[in-house]
């Protein structure tokens, strides 16, 4: 299997590095020097060199984070970081329907 670090990828727009947190599985994003559960804290890469550097740091922290990878984002008009596809939207915001509520 190719390790994610050896994967070649093209960066055609803004990307972030994301993973799940080992202790509880929640979605986290790589920041300039650590991790955050909020996408707005994510370090955005515009080139594959920067993305690869972020990914390398993320992988180095494999006790804290699982399965780091590069995911597309969009930057909205108000400069907000928004997930770039449906899967990432769901990862960030949860299932697209109301969850059952227990009485």
């Amino acid at each position: 299997m190719t390790s994610p670090l050896q994967q070649k990828f093209k960066v055609n727009g803004p990307v972030v590095v994301t993973a799940n947190r080992t202790t509880d599985g929640i979605v986290i994003y790589r920041t300039a020097n650590g991790w955050s559960a909020k996408i707005e804290d994510a370090a955005v890469a515009m080139t594959s060199t920067v993305a690869l550097a972020l990914l390398k740091d993320a992988h180095a922290d494999s006790v804290y984070a699982i399965g780091s990878y590069v995911a597309p984002v969009e930057i909205s008009e108000s400069k907000e970081i928004v997930p770039g596809n449906l899967r990432e939207k769901i990862r960030q915001a949860g299932p697209t329907f109301e969850l059952p509520v227990s009485g």
Partner: protein, 551 residues
């Protein structure tokens, strides 16, 4: 109900401790994720999109009220207050934290439950007929054999690292309610001409990317040889099943590539070597297992025709009774299906409150026993007919008495892209949309039994290949589109559905299904001709014309 003894209880406790140690090693960095993953999978712990998911086995679909209450407790304490019953008689929790998992498992172990055999490349949870031991068309309780297989396959030292997962289902009734022909091994318990009970053994069924129906490799297997024969099948598979490609690793590919006959020959040769060994099931051993199954002390009742007739003056009760109540093998009793498919809800989900209250109803009305069906509903298997009206009122108050069992809104669906990291498209919102579109129960009854199965990826946990209408979500250029198959069925006339044509966009799928239903209504000879029979009689053309001409 099978009662765990001190051996089983000790075992599940040891299992929890083992896993607790593994979690500790992982959190301390002593195990990498690559090393930990197969270990957590052996305990039913997956990583989904948002969190870890814990899948708990419900062997052969039988739960005690105590166990169901505990599932409610786990949902409340460690999750977001609900759980999801799956198509393999398991339940899964979607929001569990790894650091809390050992405690959740310890709580489950206190009622004999665990996540073993719910993931990983092992022999998975043994499934069977959810009407086992109460169905009038059954020759004997298949769960006894399910339990024997469960024990044999629990942490099997030889078969825990198979090429791929391995699913076994058993049916002992005329009607196949366990979809045995789409399992790696399907066992049909029947009586041969000499009056002996034994198994027809089918191997190599399965859905996923390459669907196959199982092929019979042994017409009649005496009961005493069940385990030795299974061991022979598994040993052949473990050694010769493909491991070079995950999509070709299931036993169905091995059986397909070398042929059922050659496969059967390998098995018979292996079996000849071990058949009289320690796995042979003598009558004492079987009797010991049987002795730990508790059966209800039924009252001597008569069928309640009169009381029921008067209760049926309430039309809502009558509707529910006609739809959700099945005959029981004891006079005066009935089998009640509890629908987990209310309009607009994710199929198979139950809240902690519902679990706890259904457990209470099981105590009052069903000898404390509940069944989980592979169509993602619950069953109260031993209800006195005189209690039906009261039970119905209680179920209705809980929102689990929708009289849609086997109707078009009784949809089977995988969790799809809303939860699952394998999925390419969402499935639950499609199910929700369909139940809303077909909300009119009178119309549903008029359409008769129709099984819709929805999958969010080709792994087919939602069994779309065998749905009367099978829907498969795929991703195309970043959009969700849905393929449709028609004519599949999972009963004793099991058959794979046929692809209708090009996939349709998410925004159109509900309309398309409605169009398909319109064609059926126009073409059926009479109101009793079932949807699936019409599809087989007229073929796909009339449906294609309607769908693709309009689009």
């Amino acid at each position: 109900m099978y009662v765990y003894d001190e051996f089983d209880r000790t075992f599940v406790k040891e299992r929890v401790n083992d896993f607790r140690g593994q979690v500790k090693r992982r959190l301390a960095g002593e195990l990498t994720e690559d090393e930990f993953k197969p270990l957590r999978l052996m305990n039913g712990v997956y990583l989904q999109l948002h969190a870890y998911m814990l899948r708990i086995a419900i062997p052969y679909g039988t739960l005690s009220s105590k166990q169901l209450r505990m599932l409610g407790h786990v949902a409340r304490k460690y999750d977001k207050g609900y759980g999801h019953f799956t198509t393999r008689q398991n339940i899964q929790f979607n929001w569990i934290k790894l650091e809390e998992l050992p405690d959740a498992m310890a709580d489950l172990a206190s009622v004999g439950m665990h996540g073993l055999q719910t993931s990983g490349n092992c022999i998975r949870n043994i499934t069977t007929d959810h009407f086992a031991a109460v169905a009038p068309d059954e020759i004997e309780d298949p769960r006894v054999w399910g339990e024997i297989i469960r024990q044999w396959s629990t942490l099997h030292p030889e078969f825990t690292f198979l090429p791929r997962k391995f699913k076994i289902a058993i049916s002992a009734a005329k009607a196949d309610r366990a979809a045995i022909r789409v399992h790696d091994i399907g066992l049909r318990l029947y009586e041969n001409e000499a009056g002996e009970h034994g198994f027809e053994v089918m191997v190599g069924g399965g859905l996923g990317r390459t669907p196959f129906l199982g092929k019979t490799i042994r017409e009649f297997l005496p009961k005493r040889d069940l385990l030795s024969y299974l061991e022979a099948v598994l040993r052949v598979y473990n050694q010769f099943g493909r491991r070079d490609n995950i999509y070709k690793a299931r036993i169905k590919i091995l059986v397909h590539e070398i042929g059922a006959e050659a496969f059967s020959k390998e098995v018979e040769a292996e079996w000849a070597q071990i058949k009289s060994g320690p796995l042979a099931l003598d009558t004492i051993t079987v009797a010991d297992i049987v002795s730990r199954f508790q059966y209800p002390a039924y009252e001597a009742l008569k069928d309640e025709t009169e009381a029921l007739e008067s209760a049926k003056r309430d039309k809502q009760f009558e509707t529910w009774y006609e739809n959700s109540v099945a005959p029981h093998n004891q006079p005066g009793y009935a089998v009640v299906t509890v629908s987990l498919k209310p309009e607009g809800a994710p199929p198979g989900d139950a809240t902690a409150e519902q679990m706890e209250k259904i457990a209470g109803l099981a105590d009052r009305f069903s000898f404390g026993e509940i069944r989980v069906s592979h169509v993602q509903n619950l069953v109260l298997p031993h209800v006195a007919q005189r209690d039906l009206p009261e039970l119905w009122r209680s179920l209705d108050a809980l929102g689990v008495a929708t009289p849609n069992v086997n109707l078009i809104s009784d949809i089977i669906s995988c969790p799809g892209l809303d939860y699952c990291s394998l999925a390419n498209a969402r499935s639950i919102p499609i199910a929700q949309g369909l139940t809303r579109r077909f909300r009119d129960l009178e119309k549903q009854r008029d359409l008769g039994p129709i099984h819709i199965n929805i999958d969010g990826c080709i792994n087919s946990c939602g069994h779309h290949h065998i749905g009367n209408i099978g829907i498969l979500g795929v991703e195309k250029n970043g959009e969700e589109v849905y393929q449709i198959k028609l004519g599949g069925r999972s009963d004793s006339k099991a058959q794979l559905g046929e692809l209708l044509g090009p996939a349709v966009p998410a925004g159109e799928i509900i309309d398309v299904v409605e169009n398909i239903i319109d064609v059926y209504v126009e073409l059926r000879k009479n109101p009793h001709e079932r949807f699936v029979n019409v599809v087989h009689r007229v073929g796909l053309e009339p449906f294609k014309e309607r769908i693709y001409a309009a689009h």
